[in-house]
């Protein structure tokens, strides 16, 4: 029996090594980032003519209604602030927010500072889509979910401005590989970091794959 236990232990160790060193479907995630970033930009441009009627201060889902709805839902404080944030903007502030949402969409699609921009993208998509919850359809629902999952992936690893910048930096440092002296604990942390990034990425990839299965599974069942 010890032989079988040892095999199981080895298997677990092997898997552990894999999920903490390999980013699965990193190219697929880059495709999702480019696709959803572009979709978001086109969507905002398309809706820009009626942005005020949809999400502005004059929307039929008025700021007062939004707050009334949030109050009865009993969400925790940070969620309520996040989901009702767009309702408290004036006309001018809303227009600035709309332009910012467009800019973040472009930056996300291009993969410019992807890590921070992907988090911003999720925050903005969720905030705007929840400004008028009854205006949304299944397409908005997929976009909202994917924007949140993508923020946890390393979706800027390929086909991004970041990737090009990294490649250039590597080509430059290739001939003079002298790394600056750093404290031992920082060197250690820089070794642990990519492994933590990898395992978080892989968890999010699994969620995206499962979510897509659930979308088609339930839609199929209901038919």
């Amino acid at each position: 029996m010890t032989g079988r236990a040892a095999t199981a232990l080895w298997w677990i160790g092997d898997r552990y090594e894999t999920v903490t060193t390999r980013c699965f479907a990193a190219r697929g995630m880059a495709v999702l980032r480019i696709g959803y970033g572009t979709l978001w930009v086109l969507f905002l441009l398309h809706e820009s003519g009626e942005r005020d009627a949809a999400w502005g201060p004059d929307s039929p889902w008025s700021p007062a209604l939004e707050h009334q709805y949030a109050a009865q839902a009993g969400w925790p404080g940070f969620l309520r602030v996040w989901l009702t944030s767009v309702a408290d903007l004036t006309h001018t502030e809303f227009n600035v927010f709309y332009l910012f949402a467009l800019a973040v969409g472009v930056a996300f699609a291009l993969g410019w500072h992807t890590r921070i921009v992907s988090v911003l993208f999720a925050i903005i998509v969720v905030a705007l889509e929840n400004r008028s919850p009854l205006l949304t359809d299944g397409g908005d629902n997929v976009l909202t979910l994917l924007s949140m999952y993508l923020a946890f992936t390393a979706c800027g690893r390929f086909w991004s401005i970041d990737a090009r910048r990294r490649a250039r930096a590597q080509a430059r440092s290739g001939d003079s590989a002298a790394e600056p002296e750093r404290a031992a604990w920082r060197v250690e942390l820089s070794r642990a970091r990519p492994r933590m990034v990898a395992v978080v990425h892989n968890g999010a990839v699994l969620l995206i794959a499962a979510q897509i299965c659930i979308v088609y599974g339930t839609a199929g069942l209901a038919q």
Binding site: E50, S62, T136, D137, E179, G203, L207, A210, I214, A219
Partner: protein, 217 residues
Amino acid sequence: MSASGSGPAAPPTRWWSRALVAGTTVAVGAVVAVHLAATFFYNAPANPVSQRYAKQVDTWIEPLFQQNWRLFAPNPISENIAVQARASLTANGRLTGWYDLSSLDQRAEAGNPAPGHVLQNGLRNAWFGWAGSHDANGNPTTSDAAALQAYLLNVVLDRLRPLAGGTIGSVQIRAVTTLLPGPGRTAAQTAPQVRTLDWWTVPASDTNNTASNTAGP
């Protein structure tokens, strides 16, 4: 430190840095497992497990991960719902005729290859939101019913104001449901069924800002 992630980077060697990686892995595993289970039971057809843990599942999923994929099918295929409304004007109590708001929206969409969310989803979702939160007599059944009723009124007012030709004091809404003709459906079944709601008074705060809205086409 290579950030490209292609080559095998040097592994962490100290106990604390390895614990950091192991802890992250355990935390990610736990969150992913809980989220997968919650998402599954949130979407699955009613079953003993999802009924027993409905509260926990809802707390985890709503509102951020809310989803309803059954909306793709099949009701919109088998019936047409037309939302119609008429108004009573404050000036002389004159009644307008019934306006078929759904077909007005449809006509506006017809010339547009990619109509926006306001035209495509606005009226329909507002109606389903109201119908889902009120019983057959129009009494509220959910905690968000008041907000959904105010919303339906606002959506209808946005469409009625340019047509009514005066300040609107109250509004009456009706829904005409027509089951599409098909095999096994009698003429009586496919006859339009009309559900007429009570008159709703427009709140004073809303009548005040009609001036900016009546300037329509």
